[in-house]
Amino acid sequence: MHYSTLTRRYFAAAPGAGSLTGRGVATGIAGSREQGAWVQLQVRTEADGGGNLRVVEAGFLAFGCPHTIAAAAWLAEQATGRLLTADLPLPVEAIRQLFDAPVEKLGRLLVVEDAWRGVCAAAGV
């Protein structure tokens, strides 16, 4: 399997790997280890005074292929500092292209998206 430089970088460094605890943490979980892809995304948010939630910290746990891990790490990194919205920073297909993942990996990247939706639902967004 060929992996892009970006995939290899996020897979190896895995920035944001770990669990968040304490107040203001929303958690989304999707997939299963039995199916080969499981992702937990977490964000810690603070109200920005305008009725929005701003992500001050994000983390992830992931069991899956390098593309799954890289995409989850990238998403946690991208989310930090942004307002929490149901939309991903990029559509899933664009994320697939960003990491040069084969089309057959799209299903695994959708697990990452589902975890993100779970985060937003838990945060009431």
Binding site: G36, L61, E104, K105
Partner: protein, 393 residues
């Protein structure tokens, strides 16, 4: 940056420098580059002498007669020639074949093709150690069974089968010929075609420090085995495998087999020590399961399942430091687990998270130390990400 440690010798081996030297002598104008089928000039005669000398070396290495060696381009072609060639010759007596679920695709796919042509195939289930019980084979044989195809050493687990026992079962049956895929066994364990009782045996050069693109099918003359050709156009190899013989390739195979026959025992003793050192190093990481174990497994192969990690990620994480294969028939994005490990009773998850470490002639203690460190680091990294050792931040 140094290259990764190479522990994928069951996939292929580097050509031994001694072999490469002999091969090179066949290639250029000053060497034996002639067509071995050419009559009437010295170039062809010299090439033919080299081919026949190589045939004799291979035969001597595996306990066969030179006339029993049919050159092929590798073990896959040899398996195909054995299965289709025997079935074409024997279909008047029956149309039933017995093989095992853990065979190489080079045997399974021809069997499936014969099923599409109306043949019946029985796929034996090995036990949890990966061994096919000769009693199960005896039960599977029918009056119309014409062929049994069972491998000697499994390419994924390294488990070695008792081919003499299978031969005895076939002998008692009287009508079933025994084909043995020995691509992985030569140079790793004792191999004597004549004494084994096998009727047909497939060999590969590149698994034994010879070149890719060379192999052989042994067809027992003593046992009066007959097969039909699948390839036509020149009548080489007693009409069983037409096509110009690649002199340098078969010379390489002959040299490689001669060397392996002389050195395999000392090599196995050395590699068995390294393999156990590797196993103990991996085992100390925790959550590590061995697939197949001594005394059933050849010294060169260690197949291990790792708990708590995904297989593709594990392979990717160790790849910068160690070149190994997944214990999987299909490392594609489909995530299909190894059918061999599944047949041995490993669940889907563990079958997918398995690696095959295969040691070789040039593997060193330092290679093993580097491998243990790389796998240990990868496991810790992936298990941390997967939450096995959840980090609160």
């Amino acid at each position: 940056m140094s290259l990764p440690v190479y522990l994928d010798h069951a996939s292929t081996t580097p050509v031994d420098p001694r072999v490469a030297t002999e091969m090179a002598a066949c290639l250029s104008l000053g060497g034996t580059f002639g067509n071995p089928s050419s009559d009437g000039h010295v170039y062809g005669e010299r090439a033919r002498e080299c081919v026949e000398a190589a045939r004799a070396r291979v035969a001597a290495a595996v306990g066969a007669e030179p006339a029993e060696v049919i050159w092929t381009c590798g073990a896959t072609e040899a398996d195909n020639l054995a299965i289709f060639g025997l079935s074409a010759h024997a279909h008047g007596r029956g149309r039933h074949i017995v093989t095992a679920r853990t065979e190489h695709k080079a045997v399974l796919d021809p069997c499936r093709e014969l099923e599409r042509r109306g043949w019946q195939v029985t796929y034996l289930q090995p036990d949890r150690r990966g061994l096919v019980d000769p009693a199960r084979l005896a039960e599977a044989l029918r009056a119309d069974t014409v062929l049994v195809s069972l491998m000697h050493v499994n390419n994924e687990t390294g488990v070695s089968q008792d081919i003499a026992a299978y031969a005895a079962v076939c002998e008692r049956h009287g009508g079933a010929r025994l084909h043995v895929d020995a691509a992985q066994s030569f140079g790793k364990c004792p191999l004597d075609f004549g004494a084994s009782g096998a009727d047909l045996m497939s060999l590969s050069a590149h698994k034994a420090y010879g070149p890719k693109g060379a192999g052989a099918l042994l067809v027992s003359r003593r046992r009066g085995v007959r097969i039909e050709a699948r390839q036509f156009g020149g009548g080489q190899e007693r009409g069983l495998r037409s096509g110009t013989i690649a002199t340098h390739q078969v010379v390489g195979m002959g040299a490689a087999f001669e060397i392996a026959a002389a050195e395999w025992q000392s090599e196995c003793r050395r590699l068995a020590v390294l393999r156990e050192r590797l196993w103990h190093g991996l085992e100390s990481q925790g959550g590590v399961l061995r697939n197949g174990a001594a005394p059933d497994v050849v010294a060169q192969i260690l197949n291990v399942s790792f708990e708590g990690v995904e297989g593709e990620s594990l392979l990717a994480a160790v790849a910068p430091e160690v070149a190994v294969s997944r214990g999987s028939a299909c490392a594609s994005a489909s995530g299909e687990a190894s059918y061999v490990l599944r047949a041995l009773g490993r669940d889907q998850r563990l079958a997918e998270s398995s690696l095959r470490f295969s040691l070789g002639r040039f593997t060193t203690e330092r290679d093993i130390e580097r491998t243990v460190a790389a796998v240990g680091g990868a496991l810790a990294h992936l298990r941390r990400i997967a939450g096995a050792c959840t980090t609160a931040r």
